[in-house]
Amino acid sequence: MKHVLSLLVENHHGVLSRIARLFDGRGYRLESLTTAPADEPGLNRITLVASGPAASIDKAAKQLEKLVDVIEVKVALEAATAE
């Protein structure tokens, strides 16, 4: 099952590795990840596709929200067919 998530983050040191580690530690694989400056200076928009168990994607999203530098998490799409 693939999950598409969209995150708004502070562009601080280490933010990308924290997010990546969170998926690694839960048995997800990151299929793709893009990061680009958001409209507001100092913020970035990260869009990622992760594949892994469906049951725990909400838990992963909660854990992402808990990260100090993550402002917003949206589970944009969850579908086996999402490419």
């Binding site: 040191h13 280490g14 590795s17 530690g25 854990q63 100090v68 530098d69 993550v70």
Partner: protein, 587 residues
């Protein structure tokens, strides 16, 4: 005001009300210790190992509720903090750990004493920072203290390159900080509180399950009020000990793997379990499918990711226990008559006590039993602030000691860190000079940070260490006895060259190759005693009390106990809390 980075750190400590810093110097942090040299209002406690410095800051924080602060140098100094940080993270202890880093132009070159500290400590901290400019140092320090103590507390590492410590800049320490992505939970929603209050009112056999979150939130008074006004009995986790007087008639004790028989029985019978600031950790839960099988589960926690993580939660309340319990009390209406349930729960507790007392009565008493050791500590030092090591000593302390108040029971619950207790006790003693701090230790775990005897003597931190000496790494030996056919592999601390390879029991004539703890204590300038009878233990405890008052020196009491004493009951791994064994027999 113009200050260099190190001076800004000291300014931050002052502004945050820090009176004690635990640390160990090294090349990269000499500027910090130089700035501290001039600040007479901040006590610097020199540990003898960075791990111990973190545990000491942790003990300071748990005993007071304030943020504990420690300083370590770059490279090995920073890597030595990892176990202490992981300990604090799993038990939600507020810490700020400042590490030195090599100067900015050198980072990434594998220079002397360089390690990727933020990379290494990221998984074991609540948050961490690498400070790459002097301008951002003040804000980063302020943020770190705020993150460490707010919400679910935890350790924060600030890694600061040496040239940032030495660079001067004209700025002031900020009064407040804003963190857009960080919103710790405050009051619980009215809707969730109403649901919980309704469920409590409708329950016939409700039970509170109290965790360390109640202690961290300083919510003990509110908890006591709710327990007494509703008459609902309570069980605690290992971390929840002290949140409610362990001798309170409605406190059934600790649940879980080595919990009280009565607590586990009540858990299996209740129809509503209200978890307050608990994680439903695996040692408490056992087999999740057999956990509180008849109950609806309500879970109150400040951390939304804790709720529903290991156990289903039928009612979820996200909020800070500082306010949740008072808010809940305001919503709880008149309660149904639960005399039958209270009597049933009391019956479980009585049954549990009768099992334990009968077993105790059967034991030979040449050497003090673990229960006798704990009762002696309680009797001679009733107001003790207890800090434990990890293993059998920790479980016996949890089972038999009476802990009346919160923040007087410090133990490494989540990570189970051997070597935590002694240095944590030094931190607690530094924070609470008037309190009598007692370390319940094993002969294994005490040796994991035994070098802190130097700190305790030098800093006049007169803690009393009681070693329950069985010549074994007792908890592992117990598991080998119960689950590995008595193959005592690498657990005997008295072992020597003449021993058979396949030892499965201590024998008469086994020689003692363990160190002489009393002599070690004396060599460091502390006071050391040996006790091998209950009477000797009682006398040496009384003497230790005298020593701490008269000459502020720490005491180590090496108390021999039976070599193959076990911790009972046990819920074997993978089993449910209804499948307890006591001395191998189902209870």
């Amino acid at each position: 005001m113009k200050r260099n980075g190190a001076e800004m750190i000291v300014e931050s400590l002052r502004r945050e009300g820090v009176d004690t810093v635990f640390g160990y110097p090294g090349g990269a942090v000499i500027p910090i210790f130089d700035a501290l040299y001039h600040s007479r209002d901040i006590r610097v406690v020199l540990a003898r190992h960075e791990q111990a410095a973190v545990h000491a800051a942790d003990g300071y924080a748990r005993a007071t509720g304030k943020v504990g602060v420690c300083v370590a140098t770059s490279g090995p100094g920073a890597t030595n903090t990892v176990t202490g940080l992981a300990t604090a993270r799993l038990d939600s202890v507020p810490l700020v750990c400042i590490t030195g880093q090599v100067s900015r132009p050198l980072i990434g070159n594998d220079v002397f004493q360089e390690a990727d500290t933020v990379g290494i400590t990221q998984p074991v901290t609540k948050h961490n920072y690498l400070v790459m400019s002097r301008e951002e140092l003040g804000t980063t320090l302020k943020r770190s203290f705020y993150i460490a103590e707010s919400g679910r507390p935890g350790p924060v590492v600030i890694d600061i390159p040496k040239d940032v410590l030495l660079e001067s800049f004209d700025d002031e320490y900020p009064d407040s900080v804003e963190l857009r992505g960080y919103k710790p939970a405050g009051r619980a929603s009215a809707e969730s509180l109403a649901k919980l209050a309704d469920a409590i009112g409708a329950a016939g056999k409700p039970l509170f399950f109290i965790g360390g979150g109640v202690v961290m939130a300083d919510a003990s008074a509110a908890l006591k009020k709710i327990v007494e006004s509703t008459g609902i009995p309570a069980v605690t986790s290992l971390m929840g000990i002290g949140a409610l007087d362990s001798a309170h008639p409605l406190n059934l004790g600790m649940l879980g793997m080595h919990g009280d028989i009565g607590a586990n029985k009540a858990l299996c019978a209740c129809d509503l379990l209200v978890g307050l600031g608990v994680r439903f950790d695996d040692r408490a839960v056992g087999d999740p499918s057999r956990f509180a099988p008849l109950a609806k589960i309500a879970h109150v926690d400040i951390d939304p990711t804790s709720i529903g993580r290991t156990m289903r939660a039928d009612i979820q309340v996200v909020g800070d226990l500082r306010t949740v319990l008072d808010d809940l009390a305001g919503r709880i209406g008149p309660q149904p008559d639960r005399a039958a349930w209270i009597a049933e729960a009391a019956g479980y507790a009585e049954y549990g006590e009768s099992v334990v007392e009968a077993a105790e009565a059967r034991k030979p008493k040449e050497l003090p039993t673990p229960m006798q050791v704990m009762k002696a500590i309680n009797a001679i030092i009733p107001e003790a602030l207890i800090v434990t090591e990890v293993g059998q000593n920790q479980m016996w302390a949890a089972q038999y000691l009476r802990i009346e108040k919160p923040r007087r029971w410090l133990t490494s619950g989540g990570l189970g860190t051997m070597g935590y207790g002694f240095p944590a006790a030094l931190g607690a003693q530094a924070a609470k000079p008037r309190d009598t701090v007692v370390v319940v230790a094993g002969d294994g775990s005490f040796q994991m940070n035994i070098q802190e005897l130097a700190t305790s003597v030098q800093e006049e931190l007169p803690v009393i260490v009681v070693i329950l000496n069985n010549g074994y790494l007792g908890m592992v030996r117990q598991w080998q006895e119960l689950f590995f056919d008595k193959r005592y592999s690498a657990v005997c601390l008295d072992r020597h060259g003449g021993c058979p390879a396949d030892c499965s029991a201590p024998k008469p004539g086994c020689s003692a190759h363990s160190p002489d703890f009393a002599a070690i204590a004396a060599a460091y300038g502390a006071v050391g005693y040996r006790a091998s009878t209950l009477r000797e233990l009682e006398e040496t405890l009384a003497a230790a009390l005298e020593t701490r008052l008269v000459c502020r020196r720490p005491t180590v009491i090496d108390c021999k106990i039976g070599r193959e004493e076990n911790v009972w009951p046990i819920v074997a791994p993978g089993k449910g809390n209804d499948q307890m064994l006591y001395e191998g027999v189902p209870v």
